[in-house]
């Protein structure tokens, strides 16, 4: 499809601006001006609408397709939350208003959303306090590690390392490194959990903490988690809970109760906010008593008269980690989602997420090798090794599914499992939909025996076939205008 720039016709304009009603024609000195107009496209409003509508039709999405992308929790995003986010009074609110003298009076509704969200998340995770500021999961991780560093600094601890299981998301080691720590990677045991003996072997006084996804990316809840916490705490280390997989355990287990000191939660996973083609997300961070005084500023507090205000007076705080109060528009959607579901609805969410994943695992394990043959949590992890022996790799199966109008599961992650296929149906998919997926997977396995060559040209029904990714990386054509030049 043509680029919007290729549809440009000189003289067209897609938006009518107001006529100037002030009798002023300001001229800035030439030295401050650009030499030529920015070469934005010249198109009508209908051109724009049709262009982006047609683009949207080239996407798979949760609204139109099963999207069992493991580790991403692609659940249904309820429509009313979009209406909430677009309410005047929320979406047009300037973030500096509460920083004006007396300005907090004019943002009480917004501050209440934030304040209540902190309380809800604290109760769901068993933490003492929350900050809603982190703008995505990885940003929450960085915030959590900064809190950890502040704790050790305040205690005069000399710490250098953060321990991370090899099954962790890449953001864990990257966030720890950005915060200035070195990484010790610990391998998993044969059942998919963290190998405690290997953990003991690397544990020293220089360990600042452990980052643990719980359940982990193998879909396994580590039943030795309390023992691990004791070990880490024995060297005054901090237990960090990566909440990427919180959708598995709401109402069943709270990180704060089992030894975690700091957690981040991905609102765009567990709390039903849309993934937006790659964000915006939101990654609030919760802490126990130990770390509370280090939380970022500002914090929202309720005065004796009931007024909610921003409080900057925390001398031990790590400071600003976002420009304002977080991705408010996303937090608002998650808040609406939490209060609709309530206690029972949230617990049912996790129950059915786990049920659905186990159903898929049980039906597919005859055909695909389970990475760990055990009851799983909200996602099940297979390896396509058997199919690979026939010349059909995980990526080929993924492309086959695309032709069946199903978004592929996560493939080649976690890195600990060869030819990984990680399936997370979520609680919002019905048995019938999962059955269609299961049948497609079974058919792919059958085809890997009867006609493995067939896979290499898939998908065939999409606007494009497999792209040449090597060429993209070599040529680095990332800007239409550089191409033309």
């Amino acid at each position: 499809m043509k680029l919007i720039f290729e549809k440009s016709v000189s003289g067209r304009q897609g938006f009518k601006l107001p006529e100037s009603d002030v009798a002023v024609q300001t001229k800035i000195a030439d030295k401050y001006l650009r030499q030529a107009d920015a070469t934005l496209p010249e198109v009508s409003e209908l051109d724009v609408v049709r262009h982006f509508t047609q683009l949207s039709q080239m996407n798979f999405s949760v609204d139109a397709n099963l999207y069992p992308l493991g580790s991403c929790t692609m659940k249904y995003n309820p429509k009313y939350t979009e209406k909430v986010a677009a309410m005047p009074g929320f979406c047009d609110l300037h973030p500096l208003l509460p920083q004006l003298k007396g300005g907090e009076r004019y943002v009480q509704g917004a501050l209440e959303v934030l304040y209540d969200s902190e309380r809800w998340l604290s109760e769901i995770t068993g933490m003492k306090a929350f900050t809603m500021q982190p703008l995505a999961g990885a940003h929450g991780e960085l915030t959590g590690i900064m809190l950890m560093a502040a704790y050790h600094k305040a205690k005069g601890n000399k710490k250098k390392y953060i321990i991370i299981p090899d099954s962790a998301h890449g953001t864990n080691p990257a966030s720890a490194a950005v915060a200035g720590y070195q990484i010790i990677s610990v391998a998993s045991d044969k059942k998919g959990g963290m190998d405690i003996e290997k953990l003991k072997a690397v544990l020293t006084d220089e360990v600042a903490g452990l980052m643990m996804t719980c359940p982990d990316t193998h879909g396994v809840f580590n039943s030795q988690v309390s023992e691990i916490a004791k070990l880490i705490h024995s060297v005054d280390g901090i237990m960090y809970y990566d909440g990427a997989n919180l959708n598995a355990t709401m109402g069943r287990c709270r990180p704060g109760d089992i030894g975690f000191d700091v957690v981040h939660v991905n609102l765009h996973k567990t709390f039903g906010t849309p993934h937006g083609g790659g964000g915006p997300g939101s990654g609030p961070v919760g802490v126990g008593e130990k770390l509370e005084r280090f939380l970022p500023i500002s914090r929202i507090v309720k005065r004796n008269d009931g007024m909610l205000v921003l409080d900057y007076n925390y001398p031990d705080s790590i400071g600003y980690i976002a420009s304002f109060y977080g991705n408010f528009g996303i937090i608002l959607r998650a808040y609406a989602y939490m209060i609709l579901l309530g206690s029972d609805g949230l617990k049912a969410t996790s129950d059915h997420a786990v049920l659905n994943a186990n159903y898929v695992a049980a039906r597919l394990k005859k055909y695909y090798q389970l990475a760990f043959d055990r009851i799983c949590m909200h996602e099940c992890l297979f390896s396509a090794l058997k199919q690979t022996e026939r010349g059909v790799h995980a990526i080929d199966i993924a492309k086959y599914l695309i032709d069946q109008r199903i978004h592929p599961p996560t493939v080649y992650f976690p890195l600990t499992v060869k030819e990984a296929i990680m399936i997370e149906p979520t609680e919002t998919e019905s048995k019938e939909t999962m059955d269609v997926f299961i049948e497609a997977m079974v058919e792919a396995d059958a085809l890997s025996r009867s006609n493995p060559e067939l896979f290499h040209d898939l998908p065939k029904t999409m606007p494009i076939s497999r792209p040449d990714e090597t060429r993209a990386a070599r040529e680095m054509n990332v800007n239409f205008f550089a191409l033309k030049a």
Partner: protein
């Protein structure tokens, strides 16, 4: 009842049988009794109608009716209806990061067009597919400059947003960088102070245009001096101003970032926003975040993919250029719709309108006895005035009169308690500006 769970009792029975367990509880065997929640004391659920009513009430407790003259990097621009309508398509907003390009060409092409639009505005060679917001984008630019040069000294211009500066300071608190800041001035960057700081240990110079006080600058001379010493120059820019102002590329700047909220995103009480970043082609491998690149499919048809992923955390883990994963793709697409609607001419006209309205407001405020409007250097759509009283008090008194009158600079700058930062966008009418000046005159009387 959870309306988003389709499983019936019958489904649950069948599925449990298939799995070979008796109950859902049995699926949680690995969560031992000692792991059980000590509390899960949350309210019970509500209907959609009840939730909507409650939130409508909460929204009504916010200031819907104040006429905003407040900016500080975040502006009350009009958001065309088509922006919201197009990104509200479920095919866009309920998809995720385009890991499977064959079924995500819509997102990928839209992001490629976004990158091209950012390059058109800034004049730079390459752009990424977005970062969280303007503040974190400038932090990433600083880290990028440090990686490119292998040096550890950062020179921050006094005109850079105090919010960005605080944020960058928190992030680098545990890292061993040397920070120096040039003095805060109302006008253009202090050349003498800046030059004195630049040396062969300096990694990166951080600038902003227009600066936090609204002043326009041409940084070409600073860039030339910095480049003589092998220093990277990063600048945060306000995209709407680029409808008129000299581009960062024309000034020779190496890394450009900015807050993209003004490109068709609502104010949203602080987010989600859009951090953009563009740079020279030779630095592309040091750039953080997703990048969409053009290629061809097996049939030779043009298509788009996430490219240069070897920079990223999911491949490189602790050696990645950044820890960023999810960015703000939907906001980038919204900005792309906005740029397409405005187009070449509309974008320039938008900038000119902002400039003219602000100039008119400046003239009106200058007529008020005791109000001093700085005129020494040019500004875009925001400017500083000195009031005869404490600006925070004046702003407080303006609220009941229906105005968010601006941002009192004393909030971030001790000694500047009487200074007010006033922003005027294309949305402010002549009548509103005149009424604003009248109200301000009354408050100051």
């Amino acid at each position: 009842m959870n309306p988003y769970i389709p499983n019936t009792d019958n489904d649950v029975r069948t599925m449990l049988e298939t799995i070979g367990v008796k109950s859902i509880d049995a699926l949680f065997v690995d969560i031992k009794p000692e792991h059980a929640p000590k509390s899960f004391d949350l309210p019970s659920g509500k209907s959609e109608f009840e939730v909507m009513e409650r939130l409508r009430l909460m929204a009504s407790r916010n200031a819907g009716t104040l006429v905003p003259f407040i900016g500080g990097g975040y502006y009350d621009h009009y958001v065309p209806a088509a922006c919201g309508a197009l990104i509200s398509r479920g095919e866009f907003y309920t998809a995720y990061t385009p890991y499977q390009p064959e079924c995500a060409q819509g997102t990928l092409q839209a992001l490629f067009e976004y990158q091209s639009g950012i390059c058109a505005l800034t004049g730079m060679d390459v752009s990424n597919a977005s970062l969280y917001d303007g503040g974190t984008a400038l932090y990433e630019a600083m880290m990028m400059g440090i990686r490119i040069t292998g040096r550890k000294k950062v020179v921050m211009d006094g005109g850079v947003s105090p919010i960005y500066r605080k944020l960058i300071r928190s992030y680098t608190h545990n890292l061993h960088f040397e920070f120096v800041e040039t003095p805060v001035v109302h006008g253009q960057s202090d050349r003498k102070a800046m030059t004195a700081f630049l040396d062969k240990d300096t990694a990166v110079v951080m600038l902003q245009n227009p600066n936090f006080f609204g002043t326009i600058d041409d940084f070409s001379d600073i860039v030339a001096k910095a480049h003589e010493l092998g220093i990277i120059v990063a600048a945060s820019v306000y995209p709407v101003s680029l409808g008129l102002l000299k581009t960062p590329a024309e000034m020779g700047i190496d890394i450009v970032t900015g807050e993209g909220q003004s490109l068709g995103l609502p104010l949203n009480f602080g987010g989600p926003y859009l951090g953009f970043m563009a740079t020279r082609r030779k630095f592309i491998r040091q750039m953080p975040g997703r990048i969409v690149g053009e290629t061809v499919d097996a049939q030779g048809r043009r298509c788009f993919v996430n490219t240069l992923q070897a920079r990223e955390q999911h491949i490189r883990r602790e050696k990645a250029t950044s820890n960023i994963c999810t960015n703000v793709a939907l906001c980038a697409m919204q900005a792309s719709v906005f740029m397409s609607l405005m187009g070449r001419r509309g974008f320039r006209e938008l900038a000119q309108l902002n400039l003219d309205k602000a100039e008119f407001a400046r003239q009106e405020l200058a007529k008020i006895p005791g109000v001093e409007v700085k005129r020494s250097s040019p500004t875009f759509n925001e400017f500083t005035v000195r009031l005869p009283k404490n600006a925070a008090d004046v702003v407080e008194a303006m609220i009941p009169r229906g105005f968010a009158a601006g941002f009192p600079l004393g909030r971030y700058y001790p000694g500047m308690e009487n200074y007010l930062l006033v922003a005027v966008t294309e949305k402010r009418t002549k009548d509103e500006i005149v009424a604003f000046a009248k109200a301000l005159a009354e408050v100051l009387r």
